[in-house]
């Protein structure tokens, strides 16, 4: 029976900070993305090479998708860093968590053996941190765009009893967003890890293949959902009341 642990296991300590296998893989993802970004930046030219071409395609596609939600290109370029970074980071974490060697290369930790690397999003700390960052940014962008008074008036609305009640519901829904963001990603990736571990334990050859495809697909979809929800919440937070250009319905 494979050893399935809900919490990420500690590999070593830096001073008094415990480094878990999920933290290790997420740091590797970070370093890989940073190196790729810096290397591509140095080689940017007016006649693009293949890598620059592909990245331009992806960025253009992402910008036009953001245009359809936010309304104009200028706003999309303003909010692209946070949305695209969240998408890219979650995507690379999920896909690198499927790499051969992750969750299988094992380190002897005292009595039990512990995997050296683990999919970062299968650790609730990672997804909770991302959710907190995203919700903080959404509110910060809201304050920056419409002002502190207007942003607070969404939550504390004293125009009447029903409006007050709706304001309280909005406040509760901000916290519900944090919970649902973190648990959606955590649940999908952790359940995928458990599924792959059990399948590989039961029938090691050939049968885990469709489940690997499923995990690749789910990894992409969850990253896309995270990015899209960030985008939609930013769009709702910075909307000027009066001419709301958001076509998507309000989701709670």
């Amino acid at each position: 029976m494979p050893q399935i642990s809900l919490r990420a296991e500690e590999i070593f300590h830096i001073g008094s900070f415990p480094v878990t296998n999920a933290v290790l893989l997420s740091t590797i993802v970070l370093v890989l993305l940073a190196v790729f970004a810096v290397a591509l930046r140095r080689k940017l030219s007016f006649i693009p090479g293949m890598v620059q071409n592909v990245m331009e395609l992806i960025i253009e596609g992402a910008l036009s998708l953001m245009d359809s939600v936010l309304g104009n290109r200028k706003t999309s370029e303003k909010y692209m860093p946070i949305v695209f970074t969240v998408f890219l980071f979650v995507l690379c974490s999920n896909w690198l968590g499927l790499f051969p060697g992750v969750s299988s290369v094992v380190v002897r930790e005292g009595a039990e053996s512990v995997p050296l690397l683990r999919s970062p999003a299968s650790d609730l700390n990672f997804t909770l941190a991302l959710a907190l960052i995203v919700v903080t940014f959404v509110n910060a962008f809201g304050v920056a765009a419409v002002g502190l008074r207007k942003r607070l008036s969404v939550f504390f609305n004293f125009k009447g009893p029903i409006d007050f009640f709706i304001g309280i519901l909005e406040l509760i829904s901000e916290f519900a967003k944090i919970i649902s963001f973190s648990f959606r990603l955590f649940g999908n990736v952790f359940a995928g890890e458990v599924l792959l571990a059990i399948m590989s334990f039961l029938v090691p050859y050939l049968v885990p293949l469709p489940f690997m495809f499923l995990e690749i697909f789910v990894g992409f979809i969850q990253a896309f959902i995270f990015g899209m929800l960030t985008l939609v919440f930013v769009a709702m937070a910075v909307a000027e009341h009066g001419h709301e250009e958001i076509e998507t319905a309000k989701v709670g």
Partner: protein, 76 residues
Amino acid sequence: MDINSIRLLATFGAIGMGTVVPALAIGLIGAKAVEAIGRNPEAASKVQTMAILAIAFAEAIAIYALVIALIIKFVQ
């Protein structure tokens, strides 16, 4: 009834009851999305984006149930 039997029953209950309604919800969303595209094929990509978003929300509920079932089964 010892704790392990109750564990098994609880796992079965959590996942069994928790995925019925999200499955219905996703089916309804899909049906409405297909109908909307059928009525207005030009709006296909907008409808598709919105449908995928709504499906992810509905699926999140099933995922919550799955997480609870996994915790019951595998955490001592």
